[in-house]
Symmetry: C2
Subunit: 496 residues, 2 copies
């Protein structure tokens, strides 16, 4: 069965006849040949024809008159011409789309996309996952496939809560942990629970634009604040708080995205104090907590004093694969109750089968082993990328080795036109771009973020060599694009 | 590997030590026995101990000093006491939960829940699904696991669009078909795109309360209109339209939920005309289209004139299993573009792995075969339930045989107290309830909806016999509860 990727003969036959009916080559009411006759004509077994006719009858495309042969059904549905989507306008008013999909850089065949921040899914334990999924939908059958808890399957909630309490010191039990479809869904639920149109939400001046879009959907007025060497500028926040009622602060304190800085413990404590005093929520997005390679772990804001004001978000997609999209959210009981009610209303339950399969990877220790392995591999790739950059690009870029995360944050020498370099890179087979797309105002930046997880060490070194060749071309007479000399929000960042 | 459901020994060992560390029985800095010593003491292989220590080190719980043994890490995270969820209140203001989860009738062991409207997942092609999933995440690897299209994977969109164009005459191409996580998510996206707080949305007086909840989330003011023998009362709608600006009509025209009536073709045309003329949207929820057992198919409103005003929703969960939650939405290009932007912002992409697995079931013809089989089985179950009701309950209930769907709609004799009957039923091992929970105002009803898909024919007959025994008890002196004599919104329904 496994290798039978081709359709069985009777389905091919049914498909061919259905096609003729739908294209009008066979008209409603027209007689079809008898099964014996057609079988002889096609040189197939008569049972194949009978099974094929059975499919067509089941779809209502043909009918059999008692004692009188087989006919194209009179009630055949005229298929919509050419199956083209209707571009007709409805007569009700439409508002403009809320969000423009960011342009996806078309992959260039053979090119290495070093700006890609994804995990390396070649290392994903696909076989273990497939086994776990089979067991989940097979053995647990009826109970699993009809199970419905809007907060996620208890098996996964139990395993994940235990892991988070153990490794992150979070005040979490299965009862205040919700599995979400994605981290975006988690942010969406939080925003819908928390925000009224016009509410001020503080964000980091460099960040993850999709998260900003979700907040804006709920009507948030976003206020970007600068970043220091140890994360969000608390003094800038304090200044803002003297003037404005802030409803929430959304941030990525662990490995700030995209700059990779770790927010200091002192700043975390200070931020939590401000939240409690001024009555705002902290939305702590800890999307890649596991990928920490060095130094003492700094605990999440949600694990400390003031945690009642923190809503904590995470993801399993970076541990598993982006194509297996799973997020989670943790909140104190009164907040959790409201999030659960929103989830139940807006998306019913999750995908119990997939959740159970992931739970089994936890139970077997498979996931933990995978995390260990990834941590070792990614740390080595980080070091390789850093070494390659130093060797091949010299003083063109400066950077610090981050303690964790999935990328390096580079300061590009002011004499270099990043846009021209990036263009030359495409010709050399390497894709990268400046960090403008991560900046709140989308302004061109003398910074870049390079990913070190997606590619292996050989690929990373090759990509950097191509960058070096592209840079040499740019310096030998490439066209320079103009760039703002001073960029307010980035001055505070001074890596390297 | 498959049968190894127990944790390997080294993980059990690591777990036991981790537990001791976290409960404080082993303190930070305390020395652990050497691997040889511990192996002898426990009677296990030394490699088991080494592997166990490896796990603990990887989690940062222990550390090894060069040439100096193994110690509990100084930086061990103090786990949150008892892992209890925090019930602390944040200092920011909270609004009440938007939605109360409906009380789930606790299953009574051994009881048959004849009000259960779910499909019979015992018939779900679990083995084929598991194979398809394995192939999806295995062979297609990298491309699949990093694929991200907020509207769903192209393979599934292509197959589903072809099926819908062929069997439902819908003007659908992959480009205006979006795969959603659930039908609730589809309604949520439509409501957020369409509605401003206070907008009027017409619904059927009997319906699916979770759908109403989603619409209310977006601020809809819901207006229930009565149902006739052939669906939503168009004259009532016309009367409303003379007085109010209606923004949308949400309905289930194919097999109306829960009354099972099929909306006539004439009414569909009339409704579409009204929508175009008055500038409102029709949200057509066609949740169980495939389960039609008799008569000519009536085409969806979305396939006819006026379709530009129709947003069409469907689900694959009833075809597959509720635990594999998948919905879809079809809309004309200008509307679709807005839905896609909302989806991209609020939930990023879908689950590409699962979507590909389902696509493969289409490609192989497996899903079509499953639908055929279900249609045959469910039609027989419908007939069995009808025969059992007639045989065992006589004139206590009256009903029509529906042309499709997953349940029967019963009118209960006025002399019978449904609440008392239902209570007696629980003692007899059968669960059922009156249709009040489907009525807009949640008032007690002389109607019931019984599902005929979840249980097999033997179970259905047994359930009805238990109902009959329970009824006999009720008539022999059960307590009657009071009930409104006249119920405005249900008078138009006169089945049987």
């Amino acid at each position: 069965m496994d290798s039978a990727r081709e359709q069985p003969l009777f389905l091919q036959l049914a498909g061919a006849i259905a096609d003729d009916i739908q294209r009008g080559r066979l008209k409603p009411g027209e007689a079809l040949p008898g099964s014996r006759e057609l079988a002889e004509c096609l040189g197939v077994n008569r049972n194949t024809v009978i099974a094929g006719y059975g499919e067509l009858a089941a779809e209502g495309l043909i009918s059999t008159r008692i004692g009188g042969g087989t006919f194209v059904a009179e009630s055949v549905i005229a298929p919509f011409a050419a199956h083209a989507p209707s571009a007709e306008y409805p007569t009700y008013p439409l508002t403009p789309p809320v969000y423009r999909l960011p342009p996806i850089s078309a992959p260039i065949p053979g090119a290495l996309n070093i700006s890609n921040g994804m995990p390396d899914v070649r290392l994903f334990p696909a076989a273990a996952m497939a086994r776990a999924f089979r067991r989940a939908i097979g053995q647990r059958g009826r109970a699993l496939l009809t199970y419905a808890d809007p907060c996620g399957h208890p098996r996964l909630r139990k395993e994940l809560a235990a892991m988070l309490a153990r490794t992150r010191g979070l005040p979490v039990a299965p009862d205040n942990l919700m599995i979400t479809r994605s981290i975006e869904q988690a942010i969406d639920l939080v925003a819908r629970m928390l925000l009224q149109p016009g509410d001020i939400v503080v964000v980091e001046a460099f960040g993850y634009p999709p998260a900003w879009s979700v907040l804006k959907l709920a009507g948030a007025r976003l206020m970007p604040l600068p970043l220091d060497d140890d994360g969000l500028s608390i003094s800038a926040l304090e200044a803002l708080l003297t003037q404005q009622q802030v409803r929430a602060v959304f941030l990525t304190p662990h490995h700030q995205f995209p700059t990779t800085v770790v927010m200091s413990h002192e700043k975390r404590v200070r931020l939590a104090e401000l939240a409690v005093r001024h009555g705002f929520a902290i939305i702590e997005d800890d999307y890649d907590h596991e990928f920490h390679y060095a130094g003492k772990p700094i605990l999440p804001i949600a694990s400390g004093v003031g945690r009642a004001n923190v809503i904590y978000l995470g993801s399993l997609s970076n541990l598993l694969a982006p194509g297996i999209s799973t997020g989670f959210v943790i909140a104190p009981a009164p907040v959790f109750e409201r999030l659960a009610s929103l989830r139940a209303a807006s998306d019913a339950q999750g995908d119990a089968a997939m959740e159970c399969a992931i739970a089994e990877l936890f139970e077997d220790g498979e996931l933990l082993r995978h995390v260990r392995r990834m941590r070792r591999i990614y740390a080595a790739r980080r070091d390789t990328l850093a070494a390659s950059l130093t060797r091949h690009l010299g003083s063109a870029v400066t950077f610090r080795i981050p303690a964790g995360g999935m990328g390096l944050w580079l300061r590009v020498d002011d004499a270099i036109d990043v846009a021209a370099w990036s263009l030359a890179g495409e010709r050399e087979g390497v894709q990268f771009f400046d960090a403008g797309r991560y900046e709140f105002f989308q302004r061109e930046q003398p910074f870049m973020r390079l990913g070190f997880c997606y590619h292996d060490e050989t690929e990373l070194d090759e990509a950097v060599q191509r960058m070096a060749r592209a840079l040499a071309q740019t310096r030998n007479g490439g066209v320079r694009s103009t760039r703002n000399a001073t960029i307010q929000t980035t001055q505070a960042i001074s890596h390297g």
